[in-house]
Amino acid sequence: MKTQTSIPQKIWAVIKGNPIVIMLAVLSLVVGCTIDKFFSLDNLNNLMCNTTVRFLIALGVSGCLITKGTDLSAGRQAALAATLTGVMVQRADYASRMFSWMPEMNMWVVLLIVLALGAIIGTITGVIVSYLNVPPFIATLGIQTIVYGINLIYTNAQPIGGFTDSFKAFFNWKFLPIGDFKGFNGYILFALLFGLLFWFMYNKTTHGKYIYAIGGNENAAEVSGVNVRSRKTLIYMTAGVMYAFAGFLMTGKSGGASASMGVSYELEAIAGCTIGGVSTTGGIGTVGGILIGVLVFELLKIILQFVGADPNFNYIVQGLVVITAVAMDIRKYVAKK
């Protein structure tokens, strides 16, 4: 016998399944209707630009989370990539150039160098986690402080600016201008590109299937012929690349770089993943969910900004949202037993 579900029941099921998303949608409707300019293309662009960086980091960390790991070094790794990018795209005639011996480089070459470095740091993390058997929480905590130290030392804790015109031009490029609206920033397309790439990886490749298998049951995956150690190393390497890309965008977006960027971005990314349904018990998570999770956070920040709240309230509200989301996620599994 099939149970009939009426449309109201279905709607109720959706609401029950995504209470935080629904709550935010309602909240933004209320804010949008009461405050001018909330529903504007400028604000939308602002939201998407902020989301892009966080989304890339969240994609990186999602592989770690699905395999029951974590990565606390994401923000610091992104910051290192950001300052490196900054150093390499400084104008040759800029007075306080950090490395005056360096030739002016093409920004795409810079990107490649930064990504390669991200891959190296990620691989080191992966090796520590999977071959030295250090719990991911501890391993990435160590990497986090090491990377931060390196970043402070070589930049002398000084901010970096004076970028080449071509670099600035790339980040100022906009598309789809409508009336007064100058268009969306071009680099938000990277979010789309990497979203699609990760979707493909998670759903269509053996590597993606193995990630879910390891998260579902590491021992069973090993018995089924998955080389768990090398797969995990690959996951952390991919994550490193994503943080590096995010760092590159951070520098371009803000027009400057410093070692203090990216603080606690990893926590926002982990929180976003969790709200987006990446299970803390492993084996579950989708790219769509991650995007929604990250959007929820950025939307929340913008709402608080629009209602004129002290920006420091952000932290309190975010913490509450994360705890609520995870508590509900765990409850789903508790209820099944």
Binding site: A213, G216, G225
Partner: protein, 505 residues
């Protein structure tokens, strides 16, 4: 007062799909050692867990010192004076002996007259006393993890004694002990007997049973068979009572014809000295080789060693004369060996993933387009083919595997291995925890595979299943292969005899 310290009567206990206990009973005299015997799965441990309050009984009663009682949980059992030393010890290695013994009931004192704190002096003094009682002279402050398994066991017994127990359950206490350690244990048991403790002794080792126990209760298939005074009993009598079940036609007719020897294992030895050693056997094409033995015979460990889950020191594995190098499961799979592991939950199913993901995970490389992209249609075909062939009952290929019944999960896992078209298929307890109907279907699948020329190794703890399905039976005891029996000549008695050939030290 009745003559018994404790009586359990008419105990029934069902788990989903299995009736584990069917009117079982057990009556214990004070000051006597009562052996509880039966095959693997006869319900001995389940009965003990009911007594100790780990499981609740569906039916039946417990009469303790003449009073009818209900035991809700182990804590209550302990308070009443019932203690249990488990088959698998669960100590806290990083704490001291004293803390392990008094865990949860530390002696307290008042600091500054009002702050309750643990009275360490009294705890360690009491511990020293207790250790003396079980003839051990350890420092009570020594870390438990520094002791050997047998020493830990003595500590466990000391813990039981410290609870002033009147009933002590020993579940396979000697399975990991050397003969000297066994003697030490027997001395402790004699002391406890003299103190009037009623002891339940579960073991497979006949000579021990006949030596130490005063009475024997035998169980079979969760039922009570009988209780006898130990004096005058013989090993043969006990075995016949343990296995005396009628064989009905629960197995398909076998038409597979074993061919040439294809798979050879020589001198295979574990890195763990207590595990499998010097194992030699051969397997023919199209043969079903049963592997029998008692719990702890290291059958699973041997097969996991062959499959690369566990490490070995010496030994070679050959397939059709060619030596295989296997250091991890992936190597075994790549060379045509597959293994259905014993514990479905721990090393089999990917619980939260779908049927399709579970069935395809070991053979994903076969469904790629352009070398990178998984063709979902091919995976779906694989699922549908298996669903049809093995009659897997599932709403869809996207259903989470953890929502299926045990039998259907097992079929999905068999499908996972068949997708790779292996030459040698190792099945470790393929029908454990599966209901009768699904069992027959799985037997049919095994027979079909053998007929198609696959070589099959099947570990089973069910005698009837071994005899009913095997062309040949390899029997192990305590890490060694103790003999081979032709399937036609196999009886429960001759298997049991080989399975209990412990090395005399």
């Amino acid at each position: 007062m009745s003559e018994y310290r404790l009586e359990m009567r008419g105990v029934c206990k069902s788990f989903p799909g299995v009736k584990a206990l069917d009117h079982a009973q057990l009556c214990l005299h004070p000051g006597k050692v009562h052996a509880l015997m039966g095959e693997n799965g006869a319900g001995k441990s389940t009965l003990m867990k009911c007594m100790f309050g780990i499981y609740s009984m569906d039916e039946g009663e417990i009469i303790y010192e003449g009073q009818k009682v209900t035991i809700k949980d182990p804590l209550e059992a302990l308070k009443m004076g019932i203690a249990m030393v488990h088959q698998e010890l669960q100590p806290i290695p990083a704490r001291t002996i004293g803390e392990n013994i008094f865990l949860g009931r530390y002696p307290m004192k008042k600091f500054l007259g009002f702050i309750p704190v643990v009275d360490h002096e009294k705890m360690y003094a009491d511990t020293a006393e207790l250790l003396k009682k079980v003839r051990m002279d350890f420092d009570p402050k020594q870390m438990l993890g520094e002791l050997s398994v047998s020493q830990m066991q003595s500590v466990e017994i000391a813990k039981a004694v410290s609870a002033n127990c009147k009933v002590l359950i020993l579940d396979e206490p000697t399975s990991s002990l050397t003969s000297n350690e066994v003697e030490a244990l027997f001395r402790i048991i004699e002391d406890l007997k003299a103190d009037g403790v009623a002891i339940v002794y579960i073991s497979h080792k006949m000579d021990e049973i006949l030596r130490i126990s005063d009475e024997v209760t035998i169980m079979r298939d969760g039922q009570y068979i009988g209780t006898w005074d130990c004096a005058g009993l013989t090993t043969d009598f006990i075995i016949s009572k343990m296995v005396g079940r009628e064989l009905t036609n629960l197995y398909p007719e076998r038409h597979n014809v074993p061919g040439d020897v294809v798979f050879e294992v020589e001198n295979f030895t574990s890195i763990n000295p207590k595990s499998f050693r010097n194992v030699n056997f051969q397997l023919r094409k199209g043969e079903i080789l049963g592997v029998g033995g008692l719990v702890g015979a290291q059958r699973t460990e041997l097969m996991e060693g062959l499959f690369g889950i566990r490490s070995h020191t010496t030994g070679t594995i050959k397939y059709q004369g060619k030596e295989l190098t296997i250091s991890r499961p992936k190597d075994a799979i790549d060379q045509g060996v597959a293994m259905l592991t014993e514990d479905r939950r721990a090393t089999g199913i990917l619980g939260v993933l779908s049927i399709a993901d579970n069935i395809s995970v070991a053979s994903l490389k076969k469904y790629l387009d352009f070398g990178v992209m998984i063709n979902d249609k091919k995976v779906e075909e694989l699922v549908q083919e298996n669903v049809k062939k093995m009659n897997i009952k599932t709403p869809s290929s996207k259903t989470q595997i953890q929502s299926l019944s045990g039998g259907n999960q097992q079929k999905v896992l068999i499908g996972r291995w068949l997708a790779n078209n292996p030459d040698v298929l190792i099945l470790d307890e393929p029908t454990r925890g599966i209901d009768v109907g699904a069992k027959y279907e799985i037997y049919c699948i095994i027979e079909e595979l053998a007929r198609a020329g696959k070589s099959i190794i099947m570990i089973s703890s069910e005698m009837a299943e071994l005899i009913g399905m095997s062309d040949r039976i390899m029997v192990m005891c305590d890490g060694r292969v103790t003999g081979f029996i032709d399937g036609k000549d196999a009886t429960q008695e001759n298997i049991m005899e080989l399975a209990t050939q412990f090395e005399k030290v």
